[in-house]
């Protein structure tokens, strides 16, 4: 079974469901913990929705690339897009003094992403955002 899944699709919200289905078809036969599959789904959904919703000022079609690599002890995700420069790591960390409800209102999605991954790297290269996320098993 291949260890890497590479996908590219256009910045259309309707394609997102299809992309997540393909990802699950790739992950499910591999006897991974359901918590891990859930984490990959949630992270991808959050990141991809952000790109599609806020990444582009024009109405043109843009290509978004997703790569998932499974190693013995880790899952590595890479998302590449040519949208506006956006580094999710610059979003301040969760303000633990606030209640969960208050944090939810402030866009907890990216905080969930932060909490579910072990490492995250952002690069901007040749007009493209390159976001890599690692989850250690």
């Amino acid at each position: 079974m291949a260890n890497t899944l590479s996908l590219s699709f256009s910045n259309d919200m309707r394609e997102l469901t299809h992309v997540l289905q393909v990802v699950n078809v790739f992950l499910e036969p591999r006897e991974l913990k359901s918590k891990l599959i859930y984490a990959v789904n949630l992270i991808l959904e959050e990141i991809l929705m952000n790109i599609i919703r806020y990444g582009y000022d024009d109405k043109d079609a843009h290509e978004i690339e997703v790569q998932i690599t499974l190693e013995k002890e880790e899952v590595a995700l890479t998302v590449i897009d040519d949208g506006k420069e956006f580094n999710p790591l610059t979003i301040p960390g969760p303000d633990r003094s606030k209640s969960v409800m208050a944090r939810l209102e402030e866009g907890l999605g990216l905080q969930f992403v932060r909490h579910m991954r072990n490492a995250m790297e952002y690069r901007r290269e040749e007009g493209r955002n390159i976001l890599s996320i690692w989850i250690f098993v």
Binding site: L89, R124, W134
Partner: protein, 403 residues
Amino acid sequence: MNQALIQFDNVYKRFGSNQVLKGANLSIYQGEITTVIGKSGMGKSVLLKHIIGLLKPDSGSILFQGRPLYEMTKADIDKLKAKFSYVFQDTALFDSMSVYENIALPLKEASSLPKGEIRTRVRDKMKLFDLEGIDNKYPSQLSGGMKKRVALARALVTEPEIVLFDEPTTGLDPIRKSAVHSMISDYQRRLGFTGVVISHDIPDIFYISQRVAMLDEGKIRFEGTPEEIQHAADEVVQQFIQGLETPHDALTGVATKTQWERKFQEAMVRLESQHITFSVISLSVQNLDEVNEKLGHVAGQTAVKNLASRVKERIGASDTCSRYDMNKIMVVLHNAKMDKARKFCIKLARELRVCDFIEGECPTGLDLWITAGFAEAREGNPLQEVLANAEAKDSTYFEFRIE
């Protein structure tokens, strides 16, 4: 710059034939930590005692918010003194009093607060300094670090606007020294007081101070930011700083900031003459405040020490790892392009677990958040530019969580 909160204007002070202060000028600004360094016996404590009126200048004046102390009435001075607190070199706890009584003393003496209110305030400070459950112990039953915490709690219980620290880490081991510095810096940020510290602890005081002044031959020879004093052209200042700086960072055992900067310059020479590439990695514990709050400042500093050790174990013999700030470890990786630095960070993120950092029982629900920036040096790049590139959040930025 705004008006100084406290200002020394040409202050002279003599004890018998010993002229200790010979025209000292110094500005202390509100909400900042100002550290006074200088050789022993040069009058640093004398300077501090002038601030709270324990000593009066022979000539010159001390101004508080622009107003000379000698113009103030006794009532004004008493009001002013109530804003100050003093942490003595030897903690100066009363051996015949319990921990609770020691901390409560300034409130009982200087305020007419009801008993219940005093109890609440003392309990709050005991909680803040992790001193709960030792109310009835006596100073002789406490460790050196614990005594310092009791002294800090006592100094802050009146919620003073200005706190004077006279060599607050004397007699402590490196981790506890660092923990006291971390505490001073942490509580200053939380409570917002103005701090004046007399200290020999270089480089630690550079991490916690906004301003550093050097007293030499009865005068303030240099006054500026930690960055300015470390790069001052004045030879006397440089010799003094280098003389106090240990060959290795006392807390972590890795190189000091000055040594790291020297290694960087050597690597730059090799890059320019032999085209040997090198990269810089900047690693910071982002949630040190959370660790301090949940496990105490000793645990916080232990985490920084252990991060330095874990990094040092993984670098080559020709690479250099140093402590660069209170929560920051800096690395020069030789023969390394950007990609090698990147792989090094990913390897760290993969291999480290929270138990590698916290000594004793592994805490549940506490993660360490570490950011790692990296940059490859280019020929002719000044150090500050490479560091700025490494830490620029808009280019490459790496963050990992250690569970």
